[in-house]
């Protein structure tokens, strides 16, 4: 771990301490009466400690550990997605291929630094393979819908998520050996945007922005959260190959994508009649609830950097 990464984690640690203190004070001021908003806030902060610790350990262990970490993240996300999207008995071969073939191969291709294949493996080859496997069972009931569910699950939970560790494969002149910081930048900016949208929404939120899709998101939260997170993204330019203005504009773009990701994934949840994808992360819901914005931001961020900087 280099000096900058240590500083970064020290900074995140300081913010989390501050957040924990605020959470305790709010709890103390509420006088011990159970308050769902404050209790959920504290559960979220505690979960953040665990998540930062896990990412910190992976960063400390190095690139391989980070690739393995996101492999696990993809696995849990795919599992949540396919659990909530019912398939039929004849989809078994397609689901086996999703969990035991497409998921490990995608991460092997990233570890092998094979851009030409990892960028089209799932969207082209697996895209065609899955409906072939699904057709073997001879069951035509809701065929297109079932095939799309498995394809969508793999695209969101495996393909899109894998573009976070794929940042390690980029060769950027003058930025050699520092690619982990690109991951840190992406994750920090997008997650801060989520957190600040939540905070601004709770403090100033009045007008709902998409009442049918995501009842908790407000215009005030959206504008405040995205603006603040983009500003912080600009201030993080020193850990990136970008200058301040580039860094801020990129942060703005990935925050907008992250917001859209939250809305889209929320639409799927509402349609299935659930509030959360899972129960893995106390206070947050499932892995996909924490990851929806990263899914949508990661591939675009990757290609942006690859096109103009690598």
């Amino acid at each position: 771990m280099d000096k900058q990464t240590q500083m970064l984690f020290a900074g995140i640690g300081a913010i989390l301490i501050l957040a924990s203190v605020i959470g305790r004070v709010l709890k103390w001021r509420s006088g011990g009466t159970p308050n769902p908003v404050i209790d959920n806030l504290n559960a979220r902060i505690n979960a953040w400690w665990v998540m930062v610790l896990v990412i910190g350990i992976a960063f400390w262990l190095g690139q391989w550990a980070v690739i393995l970490l996101f492999y696990a993240v993809s696995f849990y996300a795919l599992r949540e997605f396919l659990t909530l999207t019912p398939t039929r008995r004849s989809d078994y071969p397609a689901l086996v291929a999703a969990f035991y073939l497409a998921l490990p191969l995608q991460y092997l291709l990233i570890a092998a630094d094979w851009y030409g294949l990892f960028s089209i493996f799932i969207p082209v080859y697996v895209f065609l393979l899955l409906p072939i496997l699904a057709s073997l069972g001879g069951d035509t009931t809701r065929f297109l819908e079932r095939a799309s569910k498995v394809q969508w699950g793999l695209m969101i939970a495996v393909f899109c998520v894998s573009f976070v560790p794929a940042l390690l494969t980029l060769d950027i002149a003058g930025f050699e050996g520092r690619n982990l910081l690109l991951i840190a930048y992406l994750v920090i900016v997008v997650q801060l945007s989520d957190v600040l949208q939540y905070v601004c929404g709770k403090l100033f939120g009045k007008r709902k922005i998409a009442p049918n899709l995501s009842p908790s998101k407000t215009v005030e939260g959206f504008v405040g959260g995205v603006a603040l997170a983009s500003l912080i993204g600009g201030c993080l330019w020193f850990i990136t190959p970008f200058n301040f203005w580039q860094s801020m504009l990129i942060a703005l773009l990935i925050n907008l994508l992250g917001f859209a990701g939250g809305i889209v994934m929320s639409a799927i949840k509402r349609d299935r009649g659930v509030k959360d994808w899972g129960h893995m992360i106390e206070g947050h819901g499932g892995m996909l609830d924490r990851l929806d914005s990263v899914c949508f931001a990661a591939p675009i961020f990757f290609h942006l950097v690859r096109f103009w900087w690598a």
Partner: protein, 206 residues
Amino acid sequence: MFESLVALGITVAARTITGARSLWLGSSPQAVQRIYFANHSSHGDFVLLWASLPPALRRNTRPVAGADYWQKSPIRRYIINRVFNGVLIDRDSSDPAYDPLQPMLKALEAGDSLIIFPEGTRNLEDGLLPFKSGIYHLAWRCRQVELIPVWIANLNRVMPKGRVLPLPLLCTTSFGAPLQLEYGESKEDFLSRSREALLALDPEQH
């Protein structure tokens, strides 16, 4: 000693693959004598239900299973008899004097709890088959035993019939409120009431 290691291995595997989330919706995990009755779609059903109970309750909660399947190989015999202490029922006995209820009643008299699947066979479609009358006779003979409906969700997708490799999808076992046979309640009424109580726990029904 070795049996408990095998049991631990099977339990850990079942919980890891499925995420095994237990929801106690109308009852709590207490050490009282019970008959857990669940939907049946996979041979793994009783394993997951058993693994979803707190360890203290597992020891004297015994699965009721079909002898035709479980007597077939030495490994199956070992697992059902020694590891899970199962109550085996001969479903296709030709002996007219054979009463399939007898082994279950004996286990209940000994103070054990049971896991039963009142559909009588694995259901490969959604929903629930009509109940066989066994559950009514048990409820009639052992009125003091609580009947707990348990909906096992998603396990038919984890291990579909005839497949060996499990899929790591998340499963939830929902434990409902205890039921008892009411005085004067007819067999048909009780069978449909207990079936409705189980169906009400299926999240897909809402």
